[in-house]
Amino acid sequence: MLKNRLIPNIIVNNGHVVQSRNFKHTNVVGYAITAVDFFNNWAVDEIIILDVSRQPGNRDQFHNIIQGVSRRSFVPMTVGGWIRDTTEINQFLKEGADKVSINTEAVNNPNFISDAAKMFGSQCIVVSIDVKKNQVNEYEVFIDRGRKPTGLHPVEWVKEVEKLGAGEIFLTSIDHDGTKQGYDLKLLQQVCENVTIPVIAFGGVGKWQDFVDGIKIGKADAVSAANIFHYTQQSTFNAKKYLVEAGLNMRMPEFYKLSTPRNPKYTETY
């Protein structure tokens, strides 16, 4: 039976892993490679890495990070942040990504979704959707890392991206991000009821029970978080254990030890 997934989200700003609150990037946590090493050993089902850097010129550094982490991650990896063309998608896939996440460019140029899905298959294209309540207290899709309103309602937009060929939705509540109040379950339900592709929930997890609620009440297929996994030993392992004990159908939590060879032969150039 298909299992629900637990997915840590690693947010990278100018080469460093950061925490985020309402899309404001706060403290630097450390290096992405270290984070991936821990998560890979601590029973996660997948890893998402997003580049949120605004300064141009840091993109090469981000590509270096992806190459580095892919050598150490033996669970699927989704890479995203500012992806605008299929050439870069291809580059990320070559570097070891399994899926890519598209956000701003999907709204600016919806054909990009269909082009990418046609070229790489729907299963490779995750559309990331950031949602915030607007001034009239209605859900609205925001792009440009939460800065630009689009006038789109999330339900209307997810139906559209599914039609265009997206394979998965990564749904973030900007209002809940970093606030530890749990997922926006109402938003999650609305989205999950209106698509037939899998939905990953993100934003607001403050305790392990929030993951359970995201799946059981919100109807998400997979649950993701960032801040809560940092600074704690075996964080993802413990979260997984909680989910299994709550009766969810997950891969059993186990510690994995995949030791890389003493003298790995990385002869290939990228």
């Binding site: 039976m1 298909l2 299992k3 629900n4 997934r5 089902d45 997948e46 190459q67 892919s70 050598r71 033996f74 669970v75 699927p76 990896m77 291809n90 896939l93 070559k94 570097e95 070891g96 990504a97 399994d98 899926k99 046609k118 070229m119 790489f120 298959g121 729907s122 299963q123 490779c124 394979g167 998965e168 698509v195 037939t196 592709i197 899998p198 297929d221 997979a222 891969r251 059993m252 994995y256 030890k257 995949l258 890389t260 060879p261 790995p264 032969k265 990385y266 002869t267 290939e268 990228y270």
Partner: protein
């Protein structure tokens, strides 16, 4: 040396890394001579069936694969799209010809339960039909799947299927083996230690 076929698409890096972890000498190549001298040929794949076939054709890799795998009986490992290519045809976005090494058609997943979504993304259990070979010493055969289409093997060749995965009534061909041809629909290179063990089993099996 193991050769991963580079046809311009596919997660070649992940597979390279996985074999590297096993301490294997492995290369990513589209060179005829390298493929000819390799111990085994690995065809990965992320992408659309027709684009993949087109790239293989344009790089003249189809003839090389045919020669090495069918004529010279070199071990072949197909992963995801590398499994689907084996079929006679795929109905992904029209009707497209495959290698035709296996009797069957690649069709779209149509689970009978609305809660089961397409693409089929995530960890799922496989039912192992043949334990020797790829599944040796694997206790919990749970792997990462990432696909919208699957290979439906023709009745006459059903015996080549070594494991299946049930997805809402669709009996997905999860793994198959026909002589020197091995193929898996899921992603062993991304299925943690279980997947790495399966890749090790592949190597053990072709070397025994």
């Amino acid at each position: 040396m193991l050769a991963i076929v580079d046809y311009g698409m596919g997660n070649v890096r992940s597979i390279y890394n996985a074999f590297n972890l096993l301490g294997e000498e492995v290369c990513i190549t589209d060179d005829k001579n390298t493929l000819s001298s390799a111990e085994a040929i690995i065809v990965p794949g992320v992408g659309a069936f027709s684009d993949g076939m087109k790239n293989l054709r344009e790089k003249n890799l189809l003839e090389i694969l045919e020669k090495e795998v069918i004529e010279k009986k070199k071990p072949y490992l197909g992963i995801c799209l590398g499994l689907e290519f084996l079929a006679e045809k795929s109905l992904e976005g029209g009707s497209h010809t495959g290698f035709g090494w296996i009797k069957g058609t690649v069709i779209r997943l149509q689970p009978n339960t609305p809660s089961l979504r397409v693409p089929h993304i995530g960890w799922n259990d496989t039912m192992v039909l043949k334990k020797e070979g790829l599944f040796k010493e694997i206790q919990k055969p749970t792997f990462y799947f990432l696909h919208s289409y699957y290979l439906k093997v023709d009745e006459s060749e059903k015996n080549i299927i070594t494991s299946i995965c049930d997805y809402g009534g669709n009996q997905i061909t999860a793994t198959l083996q026909k002589d020197n041809i091995y193929a898996v629909q899921f992603h062993p290179e991304k299925s943690q230690s279980t997947g790495i063990k399966l890749l090790k089993n592949f190597l053990d099996d072709i070397r025994k």
